[in-house]
């Protein structure tokens, strides 16, 4: 098995009022091709920050990120083939779809930018792929349900045929029944498109259902590496306990 993603000694810090605030330090892991890798931890542990660095949305990091043999460079936006290979589904479908664009535009524009032909037909196919009727193309995001919106977001992420799909709590804003639909859809698409997933979640159930391997994060560091056996013992309390290891009860001062 080849390594699809390898992250070594990744540290990420943000400038704050007085000092630099270190959100993530010394994170190292690798993901094998075709696997679903989980980044698990309570809110504020830095798991989403790691994901956004891999996505190229936050370039202020140090260390090494290698994706399918292409090294990302800190301080630079990702371009070219690597950009197409890495796509992301955001946590909240309410805020990741542009409120004033119709679905046809949301899905058609990326294709247009990349010079594709026959965009209308391609939008129909993209909607069909995620189990939505092509008739929805004329609607605005606010005319769709939460689950439908997340399906549109997934369809958009798949447009450029990525090899790595980053999932930032893709179902935490959804009902359990809708969550079940979306998780099924993601697993089906992973098989049919031969993708690798990195899934961020605080939900031990979702992680246990989806992931082959993972890491438990706490306070910006990796607390524990998890294989399937370790995942079986992962409980919600264990995830939450990672938040209470050493923090006081307050954020800020």
């Amino acid at each position: 098995m080849t390594s699809a993603v390898s992250v070594e000694q990744l540290s990420i810090s943000f400038p704050s009022a007085k000092t630099r605030f270190t959100a993530v330090s010394d994170v190292t892991f690798s993901v094998e091709e075709g696997q679903t890798f989980g980044l698990i931890g309570p809110s504020g542990c830095g798991k989403t920050t790691v994901l956004r660095a891999i996505a190229g949305l936050n370039t202020g990091w140090t260390g090494l990120i290698d994706i399918f043999g292409a090294k990302l460079e800190p301080g630079r936006k990702i371009t070219g083939d690597t950009r197409r290979n890495i796509q992301m589904v955001f946590q909240d479908p309410y805020s990741s779809l542009h409120p004033r664009h119709r679905i046809a535009h949301i899905l058609g524009e990326p294709l247009k930018v990349h010079g594709a032909e026959g965009i209308d037909a391609a939008v129909g196919i993209a909607l069909d792929r995620v189990g939505l009727s092509p008739a929805l193309a004329g609607r605005y995001p606010h005319q769709l349900s939460g689950g439908q919106r997340q399906r549109v977001a997934i369809a958009r992420a798949l447009l450029l045929k990525p090899k790595l799909l980053l999932l930032d709590e893709p179902t935490s804003a959804l009902d359990v029944t809708v969550q079940a639909e979306i998780l099924n859809l993601l697993n089906d698409l992973k098989a049919s498109h031969r993708m690798t997933f990195i899934l961020v979640s605080h939900d031990a159930g979702v992680i246990g259902h989806m992931c082959d391997r993972g890491v438990l994060m706490s306070h910006g560091r990796i607390a524990r590496a998890l294989d399937r056996a370790a995942l079986s013992e992962l409980t919600e309390d264990a995830v939450e306990a990672a938040a209470w290891d050493e923090t006081p009860g307050y954020r800020g001062n």
Binding site: L183, G205, H209
Partner: protein
């Protein structure tokens, strides 16, 4: 049940549209005594509207009709604005989904927790503060003095929700309606907050109407479960008997929750979920 706090019979809620009124809650009946009743359903099942109708919080274009809607012998359907103000905060309390939106960021926590005392009692400032500090400690917040003096922005999500619970319980209401009280929180925190709600409900002898979409989760904390779908009650049963649920819908809701054991399988979904597509 003879000692019911809340009795609702044949509650129907409809909204006007171009094609005449559309019923979204269809003739449902339920009672809540000093116990925890969970109302479970998908979005669009009418569960939140039911909770809001009981609190008298629906927009005025909503049309609410019931053959009986009694709380502690008071007919909620004939209650005027003054009557509602007296009832909310002292007789009934509502806990909402996200503390970020229910706590005012410009006011200190202490003031918001005390507000119900200020409105409904004649306690002095010192007594109010003492009651607020007691309540903050009671909901498991470390260092209540410090929480009392801080602004909501300084609290994490779980702490914010505990503050909300403290603010709701300070006047010892008889009935709490909690509408998805934990869905903005991490899984682990959700369990902590629900455990807290359960123990406080028992300690204060209150009734709790717990509205949620997650059957597996709430059933661990509820005495009885009411399953709603598309405005109707599909099934009602004691939480302990959920494993033997009669309807396919309830069983599906139960199995929809992913876990380590469901790895590599497809989760059950409802093909005819009835949501508009």
């Amino acid at each position: 049940m003879t000692d019911a706090l809340l009795t609702v019979e044949d509650l129907t809620i409809s909204f006007p549209s171009d094609n005449g009124p559309v019923p979204v809650v269809k003739s449902i009946s339920l009672t809540v005594a000093r116990e925890i009743v969970a109302v479970v359903g998908e979005s669009g099942s009418g569960k939140s509207l039911t909770g809001r109708a009981i609190m008298g919080l629906l927009p005025c274009r909503a049309h609410v009709r019931a053959s009986r809607m009694l709380f502690e012998g008071i007919d909620l359907q004939t209650l005027g604005p003054a009557g509602w103000n007296g009832l909310r905060g002292s007789g009934m309390g509502l806990i909402l989904q996200d503390p970020k939106f229910s706590l005012n960021p410009a006011h200190r926590v202490g003031r918001q927790v005390e507000e119900a005392l200020l409105l409904h009692t004649k306690l002095s400032a010192r007594e109010r503060k003492q009651r607020a500090l007691d309540m903050l400690a009671r909901v498991g917040l470390p260092d209540p003095e410090r929480v009392y003096a801080s602004y909501p922005a300084a609290l994490s999500g779980g702490m914010g929700q505990r503050v909300m619970i403290a603010a709701m319980l300070i006047n010892r209401p008889m009935l709490i309606i909690a509408d998805e009280p934990t869905s903005a929180l991490d899984r682990g925190l959700q369990d902590q907050v629900l455990t807290l709600l359960r123990s406080l409900t028992e300690e204060f002898g209150m009734g709790l109407l717990l509205i949620s979409h997650d059957l597996q989760q709430v059933s661990r904390y509820a005495d009885r479960v009411i399953v709603m779908r598309q405005g109707e009650i599909v099934e009602r049963l004691p939480a302990s008997e959920l494993a033997q649920a009669q309807t396919a819908y309830t069983r599906g809701l139960w199995a929809a929750r992913p876990s380590f054991a469901t790895y590599g399988t497809r989760l059950p979904v409802f093909e005819d979920s009835g949501r508009p597509s």
